[in-house]
Symmetry: C2
């Protein structure tokens, strides 16, 4: 089993032993994809998801003292392979130093999701999953599968940030450092409205058939993508035509080639399942905090670095900065960028460098 391989890799020793060239080859060899079989998994909603699968990929090896684990959860609609830009030799998330676990979010199609769950919980019947559910599943992966006693860092972008906040709130003794960027610990009302918009666009397509489609509702997915396009980058990004730096030849080429392509790869029900998770994100809803965001964030013991994109239209610096101020000792940094929310997605080298440097400083602390 792939997950056994990962465990094996983890107990073999320390990747930083090798030279730069051989380490690079080694690091590649050490990337392991796996699926953690969770069996019956009872969700916050009360549903039992049977034969629950948590897909993941690991990079690097667990050190002998098991102190070098990093958890890096996936953001909305992404697979683990979509966010590897943050990982690499010489980067903060260096597989030669760290054992990096990238768990796929429930609903993303690699982990249990509407698209891959057998009846009766398939497709439109897939149960509602919370961020809290995701973190409970990931916690089992990290502790039961990999035997990690303490996590050096939980880091994530966007919905990955939501999961990072939840890790720090749910497991204050286990998480040493937390670095959520471009995401909030509780979904704001405006963010919820933005998501209502993309949901309405997708489901306006009759081909969606209330989730029971046989053929994908591509018109709805394309509409969803076009709406998303306005939110994902900032006004000055479009004004300066920075999509040219990504290899697109016209604005419409960008809307089709970047945005429509991005979501046409995905299953409509999966997109809607993760959207529900996003809309209902709230660390305050963690049992023991009585719905109080302030109390939940105050309970974080991890050394926290919270970052926000200066021109992010749905995870605004104001909202993120406010939450950071509720975390004891948290450092709050603004990513000075016109790339909007996408400043945290590895597309703009300057932003990626800034994030990497901030993470290096956090890991050195």
């Amino acid at each position: 089993m792939a997950s056994d391989l990962a465990r094996k890799g983890g107990s073999d020793g320390n990747a930083t032993d090798g030279g730069a060239g051989s380490a690079r080859a080694l690091a590649a060899a050490e990337s392991v994809e796996g699926v953690f079989e969770m069996g019956d998994f009872v969700l916050q909603s009360g549903a039992t998801l049977r034969d629950t699968k948590l897909a993941y990929k690991t990079h690097g090896r667990l050190s002998a003292d098991r102190s070098n684990a990093i958890v890096y959860p996936t953001p909305y609609s992404a697979h683990h392979s979509d966010i590897e830009w943050l990982i690499g030799p010489g980067k903060a998330l260096d597989p030669e130093k760290y054992f990096i676990v990238v768990p796929d979010m429930l609903g993303n199609g690699l982990s249990s999701a509407p698209s891959n769950t057998p009846p009766p919980y398939d497709r439109a019947r897939f149960p509602n999953v919370t961020i809290h559910d995701n973190v409970r599943a990931q916690h089992r992966l990290v502790t039961e599968q990999f035997g990690v006693p303490r996590v050096a860092l939980v880091v994530g972008w966007s919905m990955g940030a939501q999961q990072a906040f939840q890790w720090a709130v749910s497991h204050p003794e286990l998480v040493e450092r937390v670095a959520p960027f471009c995401g909030t610990a509780r979904t704001t009302p405006h963010n919820l409205v933005f998501l209502e918009g993309i949901k309405a666009a997708l489901t306006a397509d009759a081909a969606w058939e209330e989730g029971w489609y046989e053929k994908p509702p591509t018109k709805g997915i394309r509409a969803f993508a076009r709406v998303y396009a306005g939110w994902g980058f900032s006004q000055p990004f479009y004004k300066q035509e920075l999509w040219r730096t990504l290899g697109f030849s016209s604005l419409d080429d960008f809307l089709i080639g970047f945005w429509e392509r991005r979501f046409l790869r995905r299953d409509a029900n999966n997109l809607l399942a993760m959207l529900w998770t996003w809309q209902h994100n709230d660390v305050g809803a963690t049992p023991a905090f009585d719905g109080k965001l302030e109390r939940a964030l105050a309970a974080i013991k991890a050394r926290a670095l919270v970052m926000a994109g200066e021109t992010d239209l749905y995870f605004t610096p104001e909202d993120i900065g406010f939450e950071a101020s509720l975390i004891p000792g948290a450092r709050f940094e603004v990513i000075r960028s016109v790339w909007g929310h996408q400043c945290g997605n590895g597309l703009n080298p300057a932003d990626s460098r800034f994030i990497d440097e901030q993470l290096k400083a956090l890991l050195a602390a």
Copy 2:
């Protein structure tokens, strides 16, 4: 004919003659709705719109010297009756002092539009109309129908601002003052993308039938409205639940009762026709300016007051401020408000007061 009545009203004298009480009654009596029959109207696109109708409403009377006319064009999807909050005794747009003409935008359903044009230019075949076309039609109304030699002020919000800019660019000798607020002289790329999103949401509904629907595509219109909701107000507006001040009982009540209601009243093809107009707005495209925004704005001779909403998500203060800087002598003011784009729609008393005061100062100058 209603328009004859308006002309008659205009030549009778000056409304400020009456006392406050009687003037208020008089002002109501002086509001006249009419339709200007334009016959064949050749559009910039090359199409001839036959039996073109320009609906309007006037408030107050044209003074004997014909110097007190104000033009106040309608914004996106609105009818003239939707923007009367700015008009009233004691306000800047005082019908006791001014003769206020509110022309309905082509495409809005009162003026010629997909919904009211007979075949063959009906529905999906309605030709593309520009802001420039609108202003040419309005210029005929104001000069031919009302015999106005010089306009004291052209003022407008949002797409009304676009028309105001175009008036000042097309008729520098005729427009004394111009006050566009929460709108740009050229549609920005990001704004175009936002509009692509709402268009895609509406047209994802198969019931739209490429514009040849017999029954309205209400699912698509509701999706359009939900997407619009995120753009129309700001993040802090939703965070502070300011929709409560408008009489709504929950966020969803607001999305349905305000946003869905707003657009369900309208015809889908009309919405798409005006959306095209908006996307293609560019004073630089005025014949004689060679596509140069800078040259067009530099040609404005009107005393200009340009206002932007501090938290407007699609007509940003940065974009509007930049354009204002290109207009000789223009004053640029930011409306300090968390009501986003809707700060200019008469919903928040403090914003409305600010706008009114700014307009009073402009009219006094």
